[in-house]
């Protein structure tokens, strides 16, 4: 059975102002803003309300009645911001939290209240917490959003038992049905002030007289029409939560929590044939701070030991200070674990998994570690003849060639050398590299490699393999032909 809680903040803005400036709690004050050239009250404090000042009144009139009334400028959009922050904070009570503008929150409490020992204890806990923040709240739990909303605002009752919406609502004023002011004034004109005076009327006649809103609202309140809440945070389908009885502030405690969450999450994923690709571990601190650590894997994984290892060294980055009271583990990205995908190349399954895990650990450790695998491409230009495999386990489409002489070490940037050659197309006789003169005793070449005009412009290269008198083998190239200016020579690699 679905149960909803509605939280109403009667003095949301004024109590927020008191939170910011505690000295205000002694005096009646209002928050006002300029509308159509005059100051209109947006929110009044508890003390001001007791003196009969409500929102919507003109400030000048109120000042005439109570000259001691304090006034603060109100900030547009403040209540939305506040409600959103409060809604995020309330995620500890249920994953489905929605804001209910202008002054409330909606919680889907189904299956959550027993964790606090029942619905009344649940309400008390939230009330206590809110009171410690300085907010007065009124909370009601019912089967439908409509009833919970009305009860929270217009009744002293807290909990509406299952399927008892009709009884709970019948003595309340018509305002408790979330109707627009036009319909309310029409109802008032007809003398239908309480809900029970019109709830029994045929819906068709209500629709004819008041428009479609009234029967819809009645239906929603009684649970005959479906109403859904839009949670502020989309709930991840794969999420596990762990509440702590006492705030946790030690690394050991966090470790235990993480292990437990991983275990439950992986068991669940396994039963659905999925593996984890990305995981976020969030820790909710007692003072409302939320801290997160994230990991990613190269292969869908269900190995809790491995996943824990990836998280392990990041645990130190969490700052518990007073302690965490809630841990949430989410898996935003999952992938199905299929048999053929598990095979990298043609090595054994088990081996692949271990290597994939090793790679994950190296990746998780530091961002400066660059992991790459290279595949051949159909290019002769040396810099373009290999490409990085993306993803790491990409299958090769082109074979590496071994018929052309290629050095084992290639300089990422060719280095300039000074060369002496007898004739323009002859291999070098001597070359000077890093201040040392090398006498060439043997040479092969040239191997001309042209620029690929569809990729880039530039000069072609004539490559020579040369061996000096000490037995060292180099890969040199001349950039472009001999023309008016001497061409530039470069050293590009070392042969074994």
């Amino acid at each position: 059975m679905t149960r909803y809680a509605s939280i109403w903040f009667p003095f949301l803005l004024s109590e927020h102002a008191i939170r910011k400036q505690p000295e205000l709690c002694e005096v009646p004050f209002v928050l006002a803003s300029r509308k159509k050239g005059r100051m209109v009250i947006d929110a009044s404090s508890k003390l001001a309300t007791q003196k009969g000042i409500f929102s919507g009144m003109v400030l000048a009139d109120c000042k005439a009645l109570f000259p001691e009334l304090e006034m603060l400028e109100s900030e547009p959009g403040k209540n939305e911001k506040l409600l959103l922050a409060l809604a995020e904070w309330c995620i500890r009570y249920t994953p489905f939290v929605a804001t209910d503008f202008p002054d409330g929150l909606l919680l889907d409490t189904s299956g959550c209240t027993h964790l606090w020992g029942g619905e009344s204890a649940y309400i008390e806990t939230i009330k206590e917490k809110m009171k410690s923040f300085g907010y007065t709240v009124s909370i009601a739990i019912a089967d439908t959003i409509g009833t919970a909303w009305g009860i929270a605002r217009y009744s002293s009752q807290n909990i509406v038992p299952e399927k008892k919406q009709h009884e709970a609502l019948k003595n309340l004023p018509a305002n408790a049905l979330r109707l627009n002011p036009l319909i309310l004034s029409k109802l008032k004109k007809l003398g239908l002030k309480r809900i029970d005076s019109f709830i029994g009327m045929p819906r068709e006649s209500l629709r004819r007289r008041f428009g479609p809103e009234l029967p819809t609202r009645i239906g929603q309140a009684l649970g005959q029409e479906l109403e859904l809440i839009v949670p502020i945070k989309p709930v991840e389908p794969y999420m596990e939560r762990l509440y702590c009885l006492e705030p946790i502030s030690t690394a050991t405690g966090i470790t235990i929590a993480l292990e437990q969450l991983l275990q439950t999450l992986c068991t669940r994923l396994e039963s659905e044939g999925l593996g984890l690709r990305k995981a976020t571990f969030s820790a909710y601190r007692i003072d409302g701070d939320i801290q997160q650590i994230e990991i990613g894997t190269g292969h869908p994984s269900l190995n809790t030991v491995h996943l824990f290892k990836l998280f392990e060294h990041k645990i130190a980055t969490l700052e518990p200070s007073l302690g965490f009271e809630l841990f949430v583990l989410e898996a935003p990205t999952t992938e199905s674990v299929s048999e053929e995908q598990a095979v990298i190349w043609n090595a054994l399954n088990q081996n692949d998994k271990k290597i994939a895990e090793l790679i994950d650990r190296i990746t998780a450790r530091k961002n400066t570690n660059v992991i790459s695998r290279y595949l051949a491409t159909e290019h002769y230009w040396p810099e373009r003849s290999v490409k990085e495999a993306e993803p790491l386990w990409e299958k090769a489409t082109v074979e590496f060639r071994s018929d052309l002489p290629r050095p084992i070490h290639l300089l990422s940037k060719p280095e300039i050398v000074q060369v002496t050659a007898v004739l323009p197309d002859n291999p070098p006789l001597f070359f000077r590299y890093k201040g040392k003169i090398h006498t060439v005793s043997k040479s092969d070449g040239p191997e001309r490699i042209e620029q690929e005009w569809w990729i880039s412009d530039g000069l072609y290269r004539d490559y020579y393999c040369v061996e000096d008198t000490e037995g060292a083998r180099y890969w040199l190239f001349r950039s472009g032909p001999y023309e008016k200016e001497q061409p530039q020579w470069f050293l590009h690699g070392f042969f074994a």
Partner: protein, 244 residues
């Protein structure tokens, strides 16, 4: 009473068992592979030690390339066709296209570059612990004895072969390893006097072997195998060539 031959047989068996325990070679009953000829002769039990740590050092870019080539040949023989290797280095230097001629499939190697020495040691150690890898090649600058001992312990447990290439170290301190090598390039040679640069040709010095005989070879790499030339009738000595 046992005969002399039987006794010798018994001693040989015990020795090989001890060697196996010390990870200095396989027990003789296992199929001995002679992929590593002629180097196997220098090692105890005529077996090239796998699952051990081999140390190489080089001081120049050129000998560094030769060392890289030699390591590639050894790794290629170890990996055969299905092994996966890890190549850890400080910077991107190895050209994958150049590896194939040494019998090592470039697409079966995972290259890791990291500039941090501490990080690199951690990666090498973790990789050596991963039994699924065939070999781990680490190009590192410095290696202290303690660090090498840690790597050695990892290797002993997992059976992965580790090749540690110390490139331009500031000093040659002793490290814990099964074998220590030094490779320098030699003038390449052809059997007959063909012009042009020949096949790779190296001077390979095995400076230290546990329980074995250090040795040196002048050896070429040709058509996927080692080509030995006996030391006396080296086809053309360097001096001669100069004179010519």
């Amino acid at each position: 009473m046992k005969t002399e031959a039987e006794k010798r047989e018994l001693v040989k068996m015990f020795q090989s068992k001890i060697n196996a325990m010390q990870r200095l070679g396989k027990v003789s009953s296992e199929v001995a592979t002679d992929h590593f000829a002629p180097f196997s002769t220098a090692f105890p039990n005529q077996t090239f030690p796998t699952g051990a740590l081999h140390e190489f050092s080089s001081y120049e870019a050129v000998s560094g390339a030769s060392t890289g080539g030699f390591i590639a040949t050894l790794t290629g023989k170890l990996a055969k066709n299905d092994g996966i290797c890890l190549w850890v280095s400080r910077e991107k230097k190895v050209f994958p296209s150049g590896l194939k001629q040494f019998g090592l499939a470039p697409e079966r190697i995972i290259f890791i570059t990291t500039s941090n020495q501490k990080e690199m040691l951690w990666i090498i150690e973790e990789a050596l612990k991963c039994e699924s890898l065939t070999a781990v090649i680490g190009e590192i600058k410095q290696l202290t004895f303690t660090e090498s001992r840690k790597l050695q312990l990892a290797v002993e447990r997992s059976g992965v072969t580790g090749f540690i290439h110390r490139f331009m170290p500031s000093g040659e301190n002793a490290v814990a390893c099964t074998a220590r090598w030094k490779i320098t390039p030699l003038q390449s040679s052809f059997d007959d006097d063909l012009p042009g640069v020949g096949h790779p040709y190296w001077d390979i010095q095995l400076l230290k072997v546990k329980n074995g005989k250090p040795d040196s070879w002048q050896i070429g790499w040709q058509n996927g195998q080692f080509q030995t030339f006996s030391k006396e009738n080296n086809p053309i000595s360097i001096n001669e060539r100069h004179a010519g």
